[in-house]
Every structure is written in structure tokens, then in C-alpha cells.
Amino acid sequence: MINRRDFLAKTAAGAGAGLVLGTPGLLSAASASSPSNKLNVALIGHGKQGQVLWESMKNIPGLHFQAVCDIWEYNRKAAAGHVRALQKHTPKDYENIDDLLANEKGLDAAVIATPDFWHSPHTVKCLEAGLNVYCEKMMSNTIDGARAMVKAMEKSGKLCQIGHQRRSNPRYRFTLDQLINGNKICGQIVNANAQWNRAIKSSQNIAYAPKLTIKQDILTKYGFKDMHQFMNWRFFRDLSGGAISDLGAHQIDIFNWFLGAVPKSVYATGGNSYFKQREHFDNVMALFDYDTPQGQVRAFYQVLTTTSSGGGYWESFMGTEGTIKISENSASTEIFKEASPAPKDPNEPQPDKIVPLSWDHLVQRGFLGRKAAPVEAPPAAGGVVDARVSKPPEGFSLPGELNKPPHQPHLENFFASVRGEAKLNCDARHAFLSEAPIYWVNPSALSQQPIVFTKEHLDV
């Protein structure tokens, strides 16, 4: 069982001066090797996620994209074209990362967005070559791969940021710092709930033009059975952790970050309800139990790739006085206030006259925006269903937005740290602490047994 004290001890031991999951203490790197603080960057992997990162990186000043690497010529040319369009210079392109690391001198950083099973080998190689690394989550398809990344980071003394980009998102940081911790608007958080639901149409196999098929010897060399597997590696057990790590990792990380703890157990269930030929489950539901400083919290997570019902992706923290439902998609972000404050002692009898809970002062000071008053549903035709039905909670909104692509602040934090101007928001050790429980969701679902975590489950 992992309690908060153990957790803090691990964090501090590993990171020097860590403060729970949210404030990694790993120091920032020394200044960039190149003059004028320009950073020489290598792009490792330029598929769909690599291009998402590119859309953010191209907005960050002071980066020089020196080389690109991808086993697919189609992606390499796309990367080269993107770089050329931005900096009027053609980067050197490589099929093999070893060739890139052997030939390219003066690199400061690598941004890795390869398939999950390549994350660990690529990250370790780059760290050992003296590069600072930004690597997409999930750290690896195996927990041992993730452990190797933490060890390589600490041995090399270089920076390794993992792509849990919500950790740098101002909306999330504001919510945690100002609303949950600062003004404690949730009261005691007792439950959390998150989901990523996606329609079948969005979960289909990724197609490719047969003409662009990579030669079989290259596919084999890099661990792919065929082109279909290369395009759809997320569905294969040897290459990926499946939907729970692909989509769930982001959101289960938010559970751990916001609650300031790691779970003590997980019980999961899953199956191939629709995509019967896929190796990974298409639907997974998981229950995590936490001991937090405030008390017990149960967190439920579901990733469903066969329905869009329930409004996409979000994380919800339900407290005795308020609930914050947050999402990278601001349209899915909502904050609710309970009608009355929770008595300090749950055994205390309800006062005759309940004082309404008010957040007016928070609205006036700018911490919250106000939404239209809720409409109370008329009683059912047959009369009151239950005498204890609650009033609909009052709705509020986050007061602001992120005016950049969602990955940009996290990349900015990484490059600023490489320059020595900031500290990483999610270094590999902190990411590991948060990701470790996720590696046990699929085993729990497969065995249909709960897993109570021990040091062996969660330690580096």
C-alpha cells in the first residue's frame, strides 16, 4: 500500500526536492550549447502525434530544427517540408536514429513521438548521447521500459520531460493551484471520475495508400509485422498499452496530480465488445482507490472506443461543496457549487436554517465566471420521486482560456528548462510515479482481479 508519506518520500528521494506529483524538483539544465541560446533540435518520429507537436513547436522562438528521423519516407519528407517552410533550411533526414546521433553534432534536444514501444530505446539512446529529451506519453509499452527511462535520465543528468501536456496547461494549473488548493472550492474531494469516449467512426483502423507501403525489410527491422501494424500499432499488445495507456494515461495522470497521491489499488474490467479482432480491449473501465491527505477517494475511469456518448473526454473531481469537471476542450469544462456548505462534522445534525453556500466573492475577485442559473426540473407526473432529491447545483466557469495549441505550454516549459530558465513540469521520474499504476490496469482486467499495489508494482 502506498500512502502519501511514502509517496512524498519517493518523490523527494528521486527528484531532490519534489513536492508531490505537481512540482517536480529536478533542476533545469544548463544553458544551451549553442550561442545566442538557440536550441538545436532533432525530431524523432513525425507521424500523427509528431505533427501535432510540430504545430506547437513551430510557434516557439529560438528553435533550430537540425535533423529529422522517421522510418517512413513519407513522414520524413513531410517533416523536412515543414521545417523548410518555417526556417528556409532543409534539415538532414534519417531513417535510423543511430545514424542521426552519430552524424549530427551540436544537438541540444530531441523530441520523440515514435510508437510507444520505441519510446524507451529512443529516449535512452538520446539521453546517453547527451541530449535533453521530450518524449510523448505513455513512457513505454512496458513498465520496465519506463523504469529504464528514469534511470537513464538520472544517470545522464540530462532533462527528460514526458508529454503529459496538461501539466503545463494554464487552465489545469490554475484549477489546481487556485480553485482546488487555494480556495478549496470542492471542499473535501471524495470521488473522481474521468472518461474518454470515442465513436466507432473515430476508432477505425488507419488507412494508407498501398503505393506508400514501406518495404518489408525496413518494417521488419523496426519491429513491425506489416504496414497495417505500422499504421495501427496502438492496437497491438507488443507495441502499445492499448486505449487505457493511449488515452487513459493523460487523465489518470490528472487524478494523481490533482489528488496529490498515487492509488493504493486498481480493479479493472475490459473486453473486445466490437473490435473483436484487436489485441487490446476496445472498452476498459477501471476503479482506483486512493488515500489522500483529505481522506479516501475513489476514482472511476472509462475509455470507450465504441461510443461518443457522455461528451468526449474530461476529468471530474467531486467534492462535498463543489465539483470541477475539466477538459482540454473548454466546452466540456464546468464547475458546480452545492447549495449549502458541508458541516465540519458529518454526525452534526443539520441546522434548522441552512445558510446557502456562496461563491459570489470568488466571482467578484475573478477566480470564477458565472453561468446561467440552473433550471429546476418539474416534479414527475406521478408526484415526488424521492423526498431527498437534491437541488440542481449552480454552474460556474473557468475565467479564462489557453490561447495556444494544447501541447505548446508543455513544450515551452521543456525548452525553457533546457535553457536553464524553468523547471520541468513533468520529468520522467514524476511521470513514472503517475504512470506506474496504469501499467496494472490491463493485467487487472485480464485476470479479472483487483491489484493492491506494493513497492514492486510502483517503484523504479
Binding site: K88, T90, A207, P210, R365, E401
Partner: protein, 225 residues
């Protein structure tokens, strides 16, 4: 021929005069003008929207009267037009089309173009491509035909919109706009967007009507063609 025009011809004794006089066919004249303006506005604004992007507000959210330290900005996106925002085919559709086999040039032609590019060693007229169009390499890496279409669509809508609006070779402009809408229809057939196909079908009917009314067009800069 309407009663109105018959009377005109009687009084002037000239059929040619009737055809060229807008007042003798006021209804047709107005119909042609309205269709012309509608089709022009539709094409021009659609073309302009290809250059649209949004930028987030830089206005920080104030907490207790001071800018917040987290980087939250006002929840407004500002729409702006810029060449750098250009996207002929919207990104989502572009990705769908990129996997369509029929969206490619015949293999030998596409290979020929790419080989030609390679044979000149990444140079055009002896100049390194860094000095040539910046997106050329990406252009060659993607399906060439789709890229060409992506490049042409926005400017084509703008040019045809303006030529129709100003009455420059109206018939040919309308015909070319029709061809452009047919090409859009073909793309939507490929990705099974039946609603969009019906929508474009209505545009085609309007273009055909405009062509039929073209002889009543006035205020034209170039009546020929």
C-alpha cells in the same frame, strides 16, 4: 418572347435592340444580376475563408485586479485573414483525401514528376530549392494531385468570383465555376458526404440558370466569351 419585348420590337423595329436593352427584359435582367451577385459573393467569400485562422486573445485574466500568473487569457478567439493561414482543402478532409487512391495522379506521372525533381538534385534553374517555393519539398512528398488542388482551390474561387461579379467573360467564368463545383462534388462522392453533394447540386442549378440568363447581363467589363 414576352409581351413586353414584343411591344418593344414593334416600336423600334429591331430585334437586336430588344435583346440588348435591359429595360425590355427587366425581370430577366434583375434575375441575371441577382444570380451573378449571389454566385460571386458565394465564391469570393468562400475563397477568402480559405485564408482564415484564429488567434487567441492575449488579454490576461485579472485576479484581484492583477494579471493572473498562470497564463490564462480572455476566452475570446480572434478571427483573422492572412496568407499564412491558407488551407485550400480543410485539414481534416485533406487527410481523408490523402488516403484515397483515386486522388492520386496515375503512378507513372506522379513517379515521373518526383524523379524529375530528384534528377535536378533539388535544384530549379540551378538554384537551390531553399530559394524556390518553400513548400515544394512537402508538395512533392504528399499526393501531388491533391496538393495541386489544395493550392489552386482558394485562388480559383476568388478569381472566378471576381470575374463573375465584374462581368469579365461571364459565360466562361460561370462554366469554369461549374467545373470547380463538379470537382468538389467528386471529392465529396469519394468520401461519401451525401449532404454536401446535394448542396453542391443546388449550386450547379444556379450556375446553369445564370448561364441561361447570361444574355441579359449588363454592366459587364468584358462581354465576350
Amino acid at each position: 418572347m414576352t409581351t413586353e419585348s414584343t411591344e418593344c420590337c414593334k416600336s423600334t423595329d429591331s430585334t437586336e435592340c430588344c435583346k440588348s436593352c435591359p429595360l425590355t427584359h427587366l425581370g430577366y435582367f434583375y434575375a441575371a444580376l441577382l444570380l451573378r451577385i449571389w454566385l460571386a459573393v458565394r465564391a469570393i467569400q468562400t475563397g477568402l475563408e480559405k485564408y482564415v485562422g484564429t488567434v487567441g486573445s492575449d488579454q490576461p485574466i485579472m485576479i484581484d485586479g492583477k494579471p493572473n500568473v498562470h497564463g490564462l487569457t480572455a476566452a475570446t478567439n480572434i478571427k483573422e485573414y492572412a496568407l499564412s493561414h491558407y488551407h485550400g482543402v480543410p485539414e481534416g478532409l485533406f487527410k481523408k483525401f490523402a488516403t484515397e487512391p483515386l486522388m492520386r495522379l496515375p503512378g507513372p506521372i506522379e513517379d515521373g514528376l518526383k524523379n524529375l525533381y530528384k534528377s535536378i538534385g533539388g535544384k530549379i534553374n540551378g538554384e537551390k530549392l531553399a530559394d524556390a517555393p518553400a513548400a515544394w519539398e512537402k508538395f512533392m512528398a504528399e499526393p501531388v494531385m491533391l496538393n495541386m488542388y489544395n493550392l489552386v482551390l482558394g485562388p480559383a474561387l476568388l478569381v472566378l468570383g471576381f470575374t463573375i461579379l465584374f462581368g469579365i467573360a461571364s459565360r466562361t467564368s460561370l462554366f469554369l465555376l461549374g467545373l470547380l463545383y463538379i470537382s468538389l462534388t467528386w471529392g465529396l462522392i469519394l468520401i461519401k458526404q451525401d449532404d454536401g453533394i446535394s448542396w453542391l447540386g443546388i449550386h450547379m442549378i444556379l450556375i446553369v440558370m445564370a448561364l441561361m440568363l447570361a444574355k441579359y447581363n449588363s454592366f459587364c467589363l468584358l462581354k465576350k466569351w
